[in-house]
């Protein structure tokens, strides 16, 4: 008995060691964002300062048009995710029912393709269409990220939902659309939630599309933060505060929806081979 208890304590500390780089990183990120320049430049470094520099956060929103960029991020991620759900949930259903497993290869190839190789042609196309100054190029190109995620998760989900109800509805004379809408969709709600969350996270985090396609007015948050890095190398406090503001929504989502995210990622990954 006591050796088992010892074993459990050992496991706990081993886990603590493994998690410590993550804990240290996020603690340090918070610390950096709450310190004045003097404290950030101190040696040896200070973890918890005597005075908290809440003004760093105020500075981020006042000086960098951050509210506009936040709104841009919400619009791009929101629209790209909603469009992906509209298109991808039925597609996942169709592919699962058609047993068209080969179509999964298309999604695999989409995953293998570097984002930049979509960017060259689409950049030229958007330029030719004259829509580079709007948010549409980013919304459209984010579909490259969101649609495969949604389709992938939904195929996996619809494959595991029972067919009996759908067959019964079919015998009763319901059309394919009615079967989908009234029978399959309500059962698939948890799967849709997983697809929604993963799509939001990966679209929100995306950087490379924005760096090429965004103009001054249409930057998303990751691009805005990157621009701060290149132009304001001096002040660490506001920089760290900006970094935290960008990633906070995603981290909060991760904490509240941990179970769904883990389920979705492992399912997607394990199917990935």
């Amino acid at each position: 008995m006591s050796s088992r208890l010892l074993n459990k304590i050992g496991l706990f500390f081993a886990a603590l060691v493994l998690v410590s780089p993550a804990i240290l990183f996020f603690l340090w990120m918070i610390s950096l964002s709450l310190k004045f320049e003097i404290d950030n430049g101190a040696y040896p470094p200070i973890l918890i300062p005597e005075r908290f520099a809440w003004s760093n956060y105020a500075k981020v929103f006042e000086e960098n048009n951050f509210l506009l960029y936040l709104w841009n991020s919400v619009l791009v991620t929101g629209t790209a995710t909603l469009l992906a759900l509209l298109i991808g949930v039925p597609a996942g259903y169709g592919i699962a029912r058609l047993k068209a497993e080969r179509s999964a290869i298309v999604i695999m190839i989409a995953r293998m393709t570097p984002g930049l190789s979509y960017l060259i042609p689409l950049f030229l196309l958007f330029q030719w269409l004259g829509i580079l100054g709007t948010l549409w190029p980013q919304i459209i190109i984010h579909l490259v990220v969101t649609v495969p995620i949604v389709v992938w998760v939904m195929i996996g989900y619809f494959e595991t939902t029972p067919m009996e109800l759908e067959e019964a509805a079919n015998i009763d004379g319901a059309s394919s659309w009615q079967v989908f809408r009234l029978v399959a969709l309500p059962i698939a709600k948890p799967g849709i939630v997983v697809a929604f969350i993963l799509s939001i996270i990966f679209s929100w985090n995306n950087f490379v599309f924005g760096v090429v396609l965004a103009s001054r007015e249409t930057r998303t948050l990751p691009v805005a933060v990157y621009n701060m890095l290149s132009y304001e190398q001096v002040s660490w406090g506001p920089l760290a505060a900006a970094a935290l503001v960008v990633t906070l929504p995603v981290l909060v989502l991760t904490m509240f929806a941990q179970r769904q995210i883990v389920a979705g990622l492992t399912a997607g990954a394990v199917k990935g081979g």
């Binding site: 990183f25 950096l32 470094p45 989409a110 394919s176 985090n205 970094a243 081979g273």
Partner: protein, 313 residues
């Protein structure tokens, strides 16, 4: 698959599933068509266009002309390209090996039961979800040679200060450290999924036979989770090859070109020099490299699974 089997055990073809004459077979294609259109527009069209661009000479603002294989020949004799390919391969190799090691260890630990397991696992997964640019930014500050917290921590255990991403010799390992920090959780989750599917009985009999923990791991656990490890290797390889955000945000390929991977060189060619034709050729070659490496790994996986089933008989 097995869920639909029992009623019509004799009938094996999938098509017959809906073949009862009275009712119409449901038509599932309309569900897929919108997605096909979108995939065609944002995935297939760009590919076709990239292929076509790669045999043209075109810098934005100048006139376009057909160039045949010129871009590809130029690529073959471009030392900067070969250097970036080399960087990509080193970066990828290290960014697969390190997360695989730590991720497997973490999975073995988190598979057991202990206090606060759920909470610790939750924190462990967070780096993977954090916005890469934000991660890059904070790591850049931590890597700072004079003011960074990392050099301070090293000084506590008597290791001299490093220049991390600011030195050509240490920049790639430093970037790999960030990549490892961020993506070890994904490996952990995949391997954890594998461990969940491992049956209990063999371990019980092994214990009775007096096998120690290492022997149990080596001869029972490892072979059983091997397919999951291969999946993790494949996914990690693809992602590490494509890595862009962290490298670009932290070093932009520098110092000099010491951390310039193909992806970064591709970005610079297309969107700093606006050499679209050459950039497209690079994109094509880059994609071939990714597909080739993935294919080799998939073949290895097929083989390992085959050995697996042989062994079970």
């Amino acid at each position: 698959m097995s869920a639909i089997a029992p009623e019509r055990a004799g009938v094996t073809t999938q098509a017959s599933e809906e073949s009862q004459p009275i009712r119409l077979a449901p038509n599932y294609w309309p569900f897929v068509i919108p997605a096909l259109v979108v995939v065609g527009a944002v995935i297939v069209f760009p590919w076709a266009f990239t292929l076509w661009m790669s045999v043209n000479s075109w810098t934005l603002g100048q006139s376009r002309s057909f160039a045949g294989m010129e871009n590809y020949l130029r690529l073959a004799s471009d030392p900067r390209f070969w250097e970036s390919l080399w960087h990509t391969l080193i970066y990828t190799f290290l960014s697969v090996v390190a997360p695989m090691f730590f991720g497997t260890v973490a999975a073995l630990i988190f598979d057991a039961r202990f206090a606060l397991r759920g909470l610790l696992r939750g924190v462990f997964v967070m780096p993977m979800m954090a916005t890469p640019v934000a991660v890059a930014l904070v790591w850049t500050m931590m890597f700072h040679p004079q003011l960074g917290v990392l050099n301070y921590l090293l000084s506590l255990i008597g290791i001299p200060a490093q220049e991390w991403i600011f030195n050509a010799n240490t920049v790639i390992p430093s970037l790999v450290a960030v990549e490892t920090w961020q993506w070890t959780p994904l490996v952990m989750l995949i391997v954890l999924g594998g461990l969940a599917s491992v049956p209990r009985e063999p371990f019980e009999s092994a214990e009775i036979d007096g096998a120690n923990a290492w022997q149990q791991f080596r001869y029972l656990t490892l072979p059983m989770i091997a397919p999951f490890l291969m999946i993790a290797v494949i996914i990690r390889t693809i992602d590490a090859l494509k890595s862009f955000d962290i490298i670009y945000a932290m070093t932009q390929g520098g110092p000099g070109t010491a951390s310039e991977t193909i992806n970064i060189y591709l970005y610079n060619t297309a969107f700093s020099y606006y050499d679209m034709g050459y950039g497209s050729a690079m994109a094509v070659v880059f994609f071939i490299v990714i597909v080739a490496l993935s294919f080799i790994l998939l073949m290895l996986r097929q083989r390992s699974q085959w050995v697996e089933t042989e062994g079970n008989r």
